[in-house]
Every structure is written in C-alpha cells, then in structure tokens.
Subunit: 374 residues, 2 copies
DNA sequence: GTGAAAGCGCTAACAA
DNA sequence: TTGTTAGCGCTTTCAC
C-alpha cells in the first residue's frame, strides 16, 4: 500500500530514523532504476538463474550508478549464518595473542568471514557478557585464546551447538578442541641442537612450575638428554619467573662454582635468555664459545637485539592462528573435532648457540637459519 | 499459509539449512509457549508499553525455559544500525595497536558495540576488501590505525557518511578526524625532567627523520632546551633507526670524545634507550649518576628489564583507544569532528634518570613514579 | 492489555 | 526470461 512513486524522504529531516540516508540504496532502488523486478536484480547480482544479457547489464549499471552494496545483515538473517566469528582473548591482546589473531584473521578473510575481537582479561563476568553478545550477534563460531598456566573452564554456550576452538589455551571440559604449540617438541629441538653443538652440561632455566608449558618443555629437555646418554642433573634445572631478572639471577647461581658451571643454557623464554646472556657477558664468559644459549618464543625484538643474536624456539603462533581458522571453517561446515592438537615448533638458530664454523649443522628438520633483519 | 502447528523439522536431517537447529528459538516460539502474541513478547522483553504483571512473568518464564536470545541481526536490520564498528590496522596488530584496541574495545563494550578486527598490513588492496566487507556488514563506524611515518590516503567510503576516526595515524584528506599522542609535549616532559635533574648537556638519539613523530619530538626537545636557556648543539642530536643497535652506536659516537660527552640522553624510543644504556654500562659510565636516560614508549618489558629501570614517556595508547571509542560513539550519534587532536603523554620516572636523593622532584603535572612490578 | 500486521533488505520458490 | 511473494526474526503502530 505504499505509493508506487515513493521518493526518498528528503523533507522529513528530523525523522525518527536520522541515519536512514546513510544506509544507502536497497535492492528495491536498484530494481526501480533498472526498471526490472527485485527478483531479477537478485539474479543478476548472483549470476544465478537465466537472464538476458542486456537485462543483467542494465541491472549492473544501476548498481554501479547507485553505489548499491548488498546488506549482509539482511542476507545473514535469511541465510541463518552471519559469516562472522568471535575471538575471545584473555591475554589482553598481548604478545602471544597478536600473531594468533593475525593468522586467524588472514585465514578467515579469505572466506570473507569477519572476526569480532573481545577482550575478557581473565574476568569471568566480562567473558560471559562477551559470549552473550556474540551469541546474540549469531556468530558462526568462537575462538578462545589466553596465556594461562592451567586449563580454563569451558565457555558456556548453552544449547547452541556453536563450534568452539581453544587456541593457545585449554578447556578442562572433555571433548573440547584445543590447539596448542608442541612445547615438548620445541624443547627437544633446542636441546638436541645444543647437544649437536657438542655441549654436554646443558642447564635449563625456566618459568613458574605451575605452567604446563614449563613442565612440558622440561620433559622435552630431559628426554633429549636421556636419548643422548647425558645424565640429568637436577641442579642444572632452575625454576623461577619469566623475567630477565630471573635469567640474570639464575646465571649467578649456576656459575657460582666454576667447576660445576654448564656449557649451555636452554631458557624457558627469551626474556630469561636475555637476562642470562647479559649476566654471562658481564662475567666475561663468551657466548657462544664458552656457553651456548637458546631461548623460547623467538620474540624478534629480543632475539635480534642481543649480542650475539639469540637462537630461539618459535611456536609458530601465526600458523597456529591459521590452523585455528581452517579448523573453525570446517567445523562451521559441520565437521567436529575434539581433544588436544599440537603444532610443531621451529628452532631458529642465531649466533648465540652456534660457533661460526659449525654453521653447516643447520638445515635439519625443524631448524632454520635466523635471518637477522640487519 | 503455513500449518499452524509448525513443528521443528527434526525429520529432514539433511535439509538445505543444516544449521537451522543451531539458530535457537525465535520470538515466535516464545509467544507460542507463553500463549501470547508476538507483540506481547516484544513488550515484555523491552519493558515497554503496558502489560499485566502475570503476562510478563509468563513470557519471561517461557524465555528462560527456551533459552531464547534475541537475534541481533534481525534487530539491526530493523533498526538500521548494527551496534558494530570496524577497526582497520596497518600495523599487523603490532605493539602499538594492541593497547589502542584494548582501550577502544573496553569503551565500546560498555555500550555493547562489537568490534570487527581487520588487518590490512599496508596492503591497499586488502584494505579495500576489508572496507568493502565492513560496509556490507553495515558497521556504524570505522577506526583506522597504523604506525606510519607519513599520513595515509583517506579511506574511500563513497557516499556513505560513515564516521571514521584515524587513531595513531593521519589521513591526508582535509576534514578527517585524527587522534594522536602529543609527541612534542611528551618530548618536553622528558627534556624538562632531565633539566630539572640538573643536566645541561642533553643529547637526543632518535629514529628515522621521515617519521613525523621524530620531528615533533625533536621540536619539543629543542623548545625545552631554549626555554631553559640551554644552547642547542646539533652534534648532540643523532638520527638513526629505531633499534637497540642504533642506541649503542650512537653512544659510541657521543662518547668518543669524553670532553664533549653529554650528561643525559633523551632517546626516541625505549629500544634505542636500552641500547644506549647497555653501551654506557659497558663503558663503565654510571646511569643515572654520570648520565641520565629517558626513553619513549614506556614499553614495560623493556623499561623494567634494564638495570637500572628505564624512565620513559608513555603515550597513553590505551587512553587514546578509549578516547577514540568515546568520539566514535558521539559521531555515531550524529556529532562531527575534524582536524588533528592530540592527547597528552605522561612521563614515568624510574631510576635511569633520577639519582636516589632527588626523588622528591616527582609529582609534578604529567609525571608519575614508575611502579616496578618487581 | 493484547493481538494483528506492516515493514527492515534480501533470497528463493513459484507463477506468469 | 521475468515478476510476485512468502518468509528470515524482530519492532512498532494501530486496532480491538
């Protein structure tokens, strides 16, 4: 019952919907301009059905003229899927979340899926609100990430069978799908590399015991020692905080008695490694000649800033994010996954662990040369 | 013409819309269960109109029973606004983008506005695609951020009068609204602080000339010197890269001739400052007794890791993000802004710039004590 | 106080 | 080949 000649309401400037003008032309407008029906416009847009060439051309012309852009909200409503996923982070978008986000976004963008960013910073109430909002917005899937020592309670999604992936975080609920780096494997890469460099007394300076990553990395470390027939010396395995200060302190302890000093350090993260390196330098101990060092995280602002540049294990978080994206897409398509999946780490060898003339060692599986961006 | 007793289609398991079950109950279902009309349910949900107490109760009961969650997509379609904004980053979600995102998200979450994250990494084509997608999703506003030396081309939004804010980035188009930290002011805080510590020969080691931030910070530095009656010595102002290596190299140059050596360093970022600090320490020059240092960015992984901890200028990026969110909300409500707005920086004083017994200096405007998280 | 119905912009099934 | 129309799930006006 609207009057057929419905003009744009230029007159009612203070109408109830002041943003109407911003919403742009609708498919109806296109139909009017092209002088065809709405259904025809839709067909022309999706290249579906059969249409006379010139009709389609006329429609596309009108589309261009009006600057028509289909309203995805309406499409989603119809389709029952929003081409949208939510990413909930508890790491305050921290250093570890970033590369994961990038990988995820890059992967999903290819299928034109958009990502809602939500920061819950370990506040259960905020998390609940975000989940609530995401469900209301009818996201097609959910990614949960966080840098946590222990596994987290699973997200409560009620009856909705919404696909969820825990990346770089673990849910305690059975059946949840978790994507993590292979900490143990990473540690083995590092330790075996040091052994291959001829080191025999390899110390491990690492973070707080309560982190599963700490326990797994130590496991990899001890396994590699065992495989090489090196006896594990508990006094060489030091647990502390994730800081440079702890790295310095640990070195002070390890090198208190020169006779018992190690000839290599495998550190739980790059900050510890840097602290250790600084402390060694201060003591006049040469790296890598006297003591070789390998860190963990491959955080380039650190690894490339030290002298010498720091070898480190890379968790390939960007790749982890991509993988999460891929899995999520197949889950959205109906697939189901569960359990913990771990992605391999890579060792990036720089000067801190390799005396110059031993360089030919590199090239083995999971090992790459560090390219220092000058 | 649908049969009134429309059952959920449990039978057609391989139907065209396999996700239908996931979409959850609709307002129609609620109406059926509560035995009222759809309109009544809506009123009950929004506490609008007048409703008998028990009717409302009945509706809410049905809502709870079914786990009904209003479909925001449908609401948005009706309302003509999506309660959604886009954030386009060209910094690959880097170190600077993170705190901005956090502030933005925190601010918008209060009004239940969700944020789409898009990473364009300085690729114009990807950026265009993202913008296109965001427009299709009918976002209510756009935030553009990037760490760039120069101003960027403005985002092309066609006819849509979509609100846009450039945060930590500048558009070359006149009329654009840009939100930036007050680099010049930050530099003045740092320089004046050093002067107040009795320093007279203050060097400035900074980044590449092509960054506007570099030029502005130097301007602040020279102004402060002038105000204090200290003559500007061009040989004390060194331009290089943003790296620790450059910080070390610059110190080597500055201290080549001990007679001409400065008694304070104001560095263009914390990495440079750290490199400088390390180089000084290596030369046996004491910080802060012999040379005081102030950095820029207040990147805590760096500032708290050095010995002594590093004083630094904080750009308050989190606050910048919040401010962007606030402005964007008022712009969505119809307000318009333009031009460049700069937010004040803060100086965080730690030990690198302040000899112990001079501590009472702190407390002035824009200056705060650095609390080192152990 | 409550119900009916017209949209919001789009798709797809069906008619013409 | 093209037009018509019934939804998608919700809000809101207007009858009753």
């Amino acid at each position: 019952m609207t009057n057929a000649d419905d003009k744009p309401p230029e007159n009612r400037s203070k109408a109830v919907a002041p943003r109407a003008g911003r919403l742009g032309p609708t498919i109806r407008d296109v139909a009017r301009v092209a002088n065809v029906s709405i259904g025809t416009v839709s067909k022309a847009l999706h290249n579906s059905g059969s249409l006379r060439k010139e009709t389609r051309a006329r429609v596309l012309e009108a589309v261009a003229e009006l600057g028509f852009r289909p309203n995805e909200l309406a499409q989603s409503l119809h389709r029952g899927a929003s081409a949208t996923v939510g990413l909930i982070s508890n790491d305050s978008f921290g250093r570890f979340t970033m590369p994961i986000m990038e990988g995820l976004e890059a992967c999903l963008a290819e299928r034109r899926i958009a990502v809602f960013m939500c920061n819950a910073t370990d506040d259960p109430e905020r998390e609940r609100q975000h989940v609530e909002q995401l469900l209301s917005k009818r996201v097609d899937g959910l990614i949960v990430t966080s840098r946590r020592a222990d596994s987290r309670p699973r997200i409560d999604l009620g009856e909705t069978g919404l696909p969820v992936i825990y990346v770089f975080s673990q849910s305690d609920a059975p059946g949840s799908f978790c994507l993590l780096p292979d900490d143990e494997g990473g540690a083995r890469l590092a330790t075996e590399h040091l052994i291959s460099q001829g080191r025999q007394r390899i110390a491990h300076i690492t973070g707080p015991e309560r982190f599963e990553a700490v326990r797994l990395r130590r496991k990899g470390y001890t396994k590699s020692l065992a495989m090489a027939g090196i006896e594990y010396d508990a006094s060489l395995c030091l647990t502390g905080s994730w800081s440079e200060a702890w790295g310095r302190e640990a070195v002070d302890r390890l090198f208190a008695e020169p006779a018992k000093a190690p000839d290599a350090l495998f550190c739980g993260n790059d900050q510890i490694a840097r602290g250790a390196l600084d402390a060694l330098t201060l003591r006049g101990i040469r790296v890598p000649e006297d003591v070789a060092i390998v860190g963990f995280d491959n955080w380039e602002v650190l690894t490339n800033a030290t002298r010498p540049p720091l070898s480190s294990v890379d968790m390939n978080l960007y790749e982890l994010g991509r993988e999460a994206g891929r899995h999520l897409m197949t889950m959205i398509d109906g697939e189901t996954y569960g359990g913990v999946s771990r992605l391999p780490c890579t060792l990036v060898v720089r000067q801190s662990s390799q005396v110059a003339d031993a360089k030919e060692q590199a090239g083995a599986k999971g090992i790459q040369e560090g390219h220092d961006h000058a």
